[in-house]
């Protein structure tokens, strides 16, 4: 398993390299000028040119590219063109907020989604099943920012239970939780929709298996059949869907951070995009890419934990 993990990590290096080359090119292909963005349209061309030079944007592209790679190789993400703050520092500040948000979202999704999926599978083609399937289809079709605004209107504007903005006071866990609740619920509900559907179909598959009939035949009570025998075998596809959709959730978290005015990688990225902060943008994209690669790896490794038949070679 260890050798497998190492090999997977090695394979992801060329993938990462391709991703960051594309990112490097993409952020620069769009017209727009970070120096102009920071100085505003009133600034004289001289001032803009001086700033471009100081930012190193007058250097040839290949030189900037090599600098970027060399920096990454040394673990240096560069300095934001706009604020001058090291990107690593910005990311270190924003990342916990994003992690806290996505992981709580996934957690809510699993806690709500798996039981709901099992339940609808057991009530197949009856009212709870139809209801569950309709709701989860609605969940799949909902853009995260829209759901976020709806939840905000209901819980924050009408009921005044939760704040609509900010990440909470650092060092005050209760306040952090209050600020986390609605954004995490937004992501969690979307995740619930995915997981419910997947758990339902995985459960339906195994419920028809011989060993389930055998378990029933030998007189096990229903809970034992469902949880010990059926669910355990349905877990592999469920875990893989959690893995896959966690990646989708990271995308959703960008919009949710904007809607709820939370600090985080998404807000950092959108800000960097609007201001053409090439350095911050490309480094944040690298972090996101790394995120996705790690998540996929963790998903693959977790198969072995739930299914002893899976071997890593």
């Amino acid at each position: 398993m260890f050798a497998y993990a190492v090999r997977r990590i090695l394979i992801s290096i060329p993938i990462l390299l391709i991703v960051l080359t594309i990112v490097f090119i993409l952020v620069r292909v769009a017209p727009g000028d970070p120096a102009r963005a920071i100085l505003g349209d009133y600034a004289s061309q001289e001032a803009v040119d001086a700033l471009r030079k100081r930012m190193g944007l007058d250097k040839p592209l290949w030189e900037q590219y090599l600098e970027f790679l060399w920096g990454l190789a040394r673990g240096d993400l560069g300095r934001s063109l706009i604020s001058g703050v090291p990107v690593a520092k910005q990311v270190a500040y924003a990342l916990p907020y994003t992690l806290e948000l996505t992981f709580t979202g996934i957690l809510i999704g699993v806690i709500l989604g798996v039981p709901l999926g099992v339940y609808t599978a057991l009530k197949r083609n009856r009212l709870p099943d139809y209801l569950g399937r309709t709701l989860s289809l609605a969940g799949l079709s909902f853009p995260s920012f829209y759901l976020g605004i709806l939840l905000m209107l209901l819980f924050a504007v009408k009921l005044r239970l939760f704040p609509t903005m900010g990440g909470g006071t650092p060092g005050d866990p209760v306040d952090r939780l209050r600020h986390l609740f609605l954004p995490a619920l937004t992501l969690g509900l979307i995740m619930t929709a995915y997981i419910t559907r997947m758990s339902r179909s995985a459960m339906l598959n195994v419920l028809n298996e011989d060993y389930v009939r055998t378990a029933r035949a030998k007189g096990l009570h229903e809970a034992g059949v469902v949880f010990r025998h059926a669910l355990k075998n349905a877990l592999i596809p469920i875990i893989s869907v959690v893995g896959v959709y966690s990646v989708v959730l990271i995308g959703g978290s960008i919009m949710v951070e904007i809607v709820f005015s939370r600090p985080g990688l998404g807000k950092l990225m959108v800000g960097a995009m609007m201001q053409r902060d090439y350095i911050a943008l490309q480094s944040i994209m690298v972090i996101y890419a790394g995120f996705v690669i790690v998540l996929n790896l963790l998903t693959d490794l977790s198969y072995g934990l739930v299914d002893p038949r899976v071997r890593y070679r």
Binding site: D33, A47, V85, L161, M165
Partner: protein
């Protein structure tokens, strides 16, 4: 039982942790984060707002009214020498900088700080406004006296704005900049203003606290929290739920109407706003022909455009320099050069120019509503006389780059400039012609570089601009500027559309402490008089 416990938990979480202690005014801007709080670099609205609260200039615009005479700020008085080449500013004694590391009580502002600050503002590597101070030298005569020496005399109308509470005129603490470095200063500004920088939470907010030693008296508020909230719906929700007191709005009519209809919300619209002007590229067909530009001018209906943009947030603009500034012209003064809509005449002119069936052009335009909506209306209006405008919508930053590369046959530009000289120089002086000018800037029409009316001579208003710049008699100066405006309109180098005001919504409990008509700070200025009732 368990369900009840969960509910109870939710309610508990909801009730605790509301923001307590002190009278803090909270204002939310349309931005993901700050860019820079260095006053000599700050250009965006949310940054200028913080800068405005933290710093002072030598003189200041009257809060809420930029057309009033300048008031003393850090300088109590000023005078100019006989030859007009030396300006002397007398500093207010007993003004203290905000505390910062190493100076827990701040220190007294002296001429040394002022000279340092102005030199920084004049340095193109450390300031976006260096061009304003070319050819000036700054001398500390004694502790409380600063002299500015000029190469050529400047009238007060052009001199004082450079030393006011705007852009390069803000006075920074020399010791703080040296201690923190230029980079550090960007996120830790130290000035003399009513509010002091306290802390910055990246991507979220900046907290300012009242300066108890402010020379105009201790502020009524205990502080100001500036939030960065790029989502409009989030800002609305935050205002409605009382989590913030003032929000930046989009300058759009439907939004103004929607917010006005809400109880407990007041919408403020104020000037000077930004001038929307359509510039014609006279260096290439089809707008190299005067007849065609006149045709377009007669085809456009300002009233219709105003209606589209919104009567609450826009006033008609008929002159390249807005009438609010000395040298500008009102629509009445412009007279026939308003080119009141007359589409029959427009078609006639088109036919005379050899395009009886019109023509087709492609125009790059920003995706921002303030650009896209008026441009779509222009597109519809020009279709009436057979001109087919194809819009290529790009993001805002891209548009700013592309129009400076001279790709557009016509450019819609929405901006404010501090005075007639800057308006005319940056948009109509030959030096400022995009790409090919000596100091390429925002002269999109190429006025001064092309034969605009086909008489074989290159038309230019450079001499008028330059003469006005050094004209010490303010009446003659204004006359020169007005003449330049009329020339621009006669040649139809540009067609002024409207002046768009700024839009903010607030809790009615907020009392700015002055009458808000216009401000260069781009936000409803918060100062020592601002208060929240209750």
């Amino acid at each position: 039982m368990r369900r009840f416990a969960v509910l109870a938990l939710i309610v508990c979480l909801g009730t605790f942790g509301a923001f307590g202690a002190g009278k803090f005014l909270r204002i939310a801007f349309d931005a993901a984060d700050l860019k820079t709080l260095d006053p000599h670099l700050a250009a965006a609205t949310m940054d200028r707002a913080v800068v405005d609260m933290v710093f002072n200039g030598l003189v200041r615009y009257k809060p809420g009214d930029i057309s009033a005479p300048f008031e003393p700020d850090l300088a109590t008085s000023w005078e100019v020498s006989e030859d007009g080449l030396t300006w002397t500013f007398h500093l207010r004694p007993g003004v203290y900088f905000h505390p910062f590391e190493g100076y827990p009580d701040g220190y007294e502002l002296t001429s040394e700080d002022v000279v340092y600050s102005l030199q920084k503002a004049a340095d193109p590597g450390r300031s976006a406004y260096a061009g304003e101070y070319t050819g000036m030298t700054f001398v500390a005569v004694d502790k409380y006296t600063v002299q500015v020496k000029l190469e050529k005399p400047l009238p007060p109308s052009l001199m004082l704005p450079k030393f006011a509470d705007y852009a390069g005129g803000f006075i920074v603490s020399k010791k703080a900049v040296e201690a923190l470095g230029d980079e550090g200063f960007r996120t830790h500004p130290v000035g003399t203003g009513p509010f002091m920088f306290k802390e910055y939470s990246p991507l979220e907010k900046v907290v300012l606290v009242a300066n108890p030693r402010y020379f105009r008296g201790k502020p009524k508020l205990d502080g100001v929290i500036v939030y960065y909230m790029p989502s409009l719906s989030a800002r609305e929700a935050a205002l409605e739920t009382g989590q913030v007191d003032i929000i930046e709005g989009p300058p759009e009519q439907p939004w103004v109407e929607k917010m006005r209809a809400k109880p407990g919300v007041v919408v403020d619209t104020f000037g000077p706003g930004e001038c929307a002007v359509l510039h014609f590229n006279m260096s290439k067909p089809p707008f190299d022909k005067l007849l065609i530009r006149e045709a377009v001018a007669y085809a456009l209906d300002r009233e219709e455009l105003l209606y589209t943009v919104g009567p609450d947030i826009a006033d008609p603009l008929c002159s390249p320099v807005p009438p609010l500034l000395p040298g500008g012209l009102t629509c009445d003064e412009v007279g026939p050069l308003r080119y009141d809509v007359d589409r029959a005449k427009a078609k006639e002119l088109l036919a005379k120019a050899g395009y009886p069936d019109g023509f087709s052009i492609e125009v790059v335009i920003s995706e921002r509503a303030e650009y896209l909506i008026p441009m779509q209306n222009i597109q519809a209006q020009l279709a009436e006389i057979g001109i087919d405008v194809k819009l290529k919508v790009v993001d805002h930053s891209s548009m700013h780059t592309l129009i400076r590369q001279d790709v557009n046959p016509m450019v819609l530009y929405v901006a404010w400039r501090p005075n007639a000289d800057v308006f005319l120089t940056r948009f109509y002086h030959s030096y400022s012609i995009v790409v090919t000018g000596k100091k390429p800037d925002t002269n999109f029409s190429h006025l001064g570089g092309v034969d605009a009316d086909g008489d074989g001579v290159i038309e230019t208003i450079d001499p008028l601009i330059e003469a006005a710049r050094t004209e010490l008699d303010s009446e003659r100066q204004v006359a020169l500027w007005k003449e330049a405006c009329e020339d621009i309109l006669t040649l139809v180098a540009a067609y002024p559309l409207y002046i768009k005001k700024f839009v903010y919504a607030r809790n009615p409990k907020v009392d700015y402490g002055y009458e808000l008509k216009s401000t260069l700070a781009l936000y409803p200025q918060i100062n020592e008089l601002t208060d929240i009732a209750g």
